[in-house]
């Protein structure tokens, strides 16, 4: 059994670590001059973060998640709304579950 006081201390430590990651990026960038090259770096990193989350997660998941992601991508091209695309992808994933995928 984990001691209650130790648990509270640990959560506070993890809170500080997480806050450091949340404010760290802006803090670092406050010392960097935003040149066109830095701007291009940030622009491509903006999308690359999400790509790096989505692709490995999707490939490691079950086929219904592949369907959800594929459907969301197609729906985004068709509608231009990320929210609509998310709802269509999620609905299809639930539907695919019915077929044991």
């Amino acid at each position: 059994m984990v001691d209650e006081i130790a648990a509270i201390g640990a959560v506070l430590l993890l809170m500080l670590v997480t806050i450091a990651t949340r404010v760290g990026g802006v803090w670092i960038m406050s010392y960097v001059k935003i040149t066109p090259r830095i701007e291009a770096f940030l622009k491509y990193m903006a999308t690359s973060v999400l790509i790096s989350i989505v692709v490995p997660t999707t490939l490691a998941a079950s086929p219904r998640i592949w369907i959800a992601v594929g459907a969301a991508a197609v729906a985004m091209i068709a509608t231009g709304s990320a929210l609509t695309a998310m709802l269509i992808g999620t609905a299809l994933a639930a539907f695919a579950r019915g077929f044991g995928l």
């Binding site: 990026g25 090259r37 830095i38 770096f41 940030l42 790509i51 969301a72 985004m76």
Partner: protein, 239 residues
């Protein structure tokens, strides 16, 4: 909303207004609703680990970063391995540093207290939401704080339901909720496509993230893929 703030989102300069906070908190609601099942899953997993309800809830309030909280649960045993816990949470959450860097040109132009408020509630989902909003010309950083607030509250509510009644609900993945975030992020990525010049940086990011997912410790493949995409993009398109 009063009439004189209704045009705030049309202004060309970065700002942070109450109107923006309100719009952000409302616009993210359809996504935030799906955070509740994830919060429930965390509450259930924490209870199964023997973590007391009030500590689980405190984790969700104070840390508010789902993946890292699940990772911390794996290490939650007496005596608590503080250094390992801190390093694991740092690794899983290090991507926030990159999200913050991307938002910096925007956030550095708003007053520091508001900037910090927006950053404290930063998550993948409200970052993705802010990215697609900014593509539509959004300049009000208040949306980031508003959407963060909604996400934070739903994460806490979900956790509370999970620790109190989670075992009665069973496996929520049967509703397809586990597809929500990947589907949303995939859609935002597709929306960011500006033409064939994006192809090479995107492929490079994908390749490095995939290889990294097999070779690197948890979380670092996201950093590796993101930096690769950024560097290749800057190299090819920066002047």
């Amino acid at each position: 909303m009063s009439g004189d703030t209704s045009d705030s989102n049309r202004s060309k300069r970065p700002c942070f207004t109450a109107n923006g906070v309100w719009r952000g908190s409302v616009e993210i609601a359809p996504i935030a609703a799906f955070v509740i099942p994830f919060g429930i899953a965390f509450g259930v997993a924490a209870s199964a680990k023997g973590v007391p309800a009030e500590i689980s809830l405190f984790m969700s309030i104070a840390i508010y970063a789902g993946a890292s909280q699940f990772a911390a649960l794996d290490l939650w045993h007496a005596p608590l391995p503080l250094a390992t816990l801190a390093l694991t949470v740092l690794a899983v959450n290090a991507r926030h540093i990159l999200l913050g860097a991307v938002l910096a040109p925007w956030l550095l132009q708003v007053p520091i207290m508001r900037r910090l408020a927006a950053l404290l509630l930063l998550s993948d989902a409200n970052y993705a939401q802010a990215m697609s909003a900014r593509d539509r010309g959004e300049m009000d950083a208040g949306i980031l704080f508003g959407s963060g607030l909604t996400m934070w509250i739903t994460w806490i509510i979900g956790t509370a339901i999970g620790v109190l009644a989670g075992s009665l609900l069973g496996d929520l993945s049967r509703f397809g909720f586990d597809a929500v975030m990947v589907a949303f992020f995939a859609a935002v990525v597709v929306g960011q496509w500006k033409g064939s010049s994006d192809l090479f940086p995107w492929i490079a990011a994908t390749a490095v993230a995939l290889i990294g997912a097999h070779l690197l410790p948890t979380g670092w493949h996201i950093i590796a893929g993101a930096l690769t995409g950024g560097i290749i993009g800057a190299w090819r398109h920066g002047r």
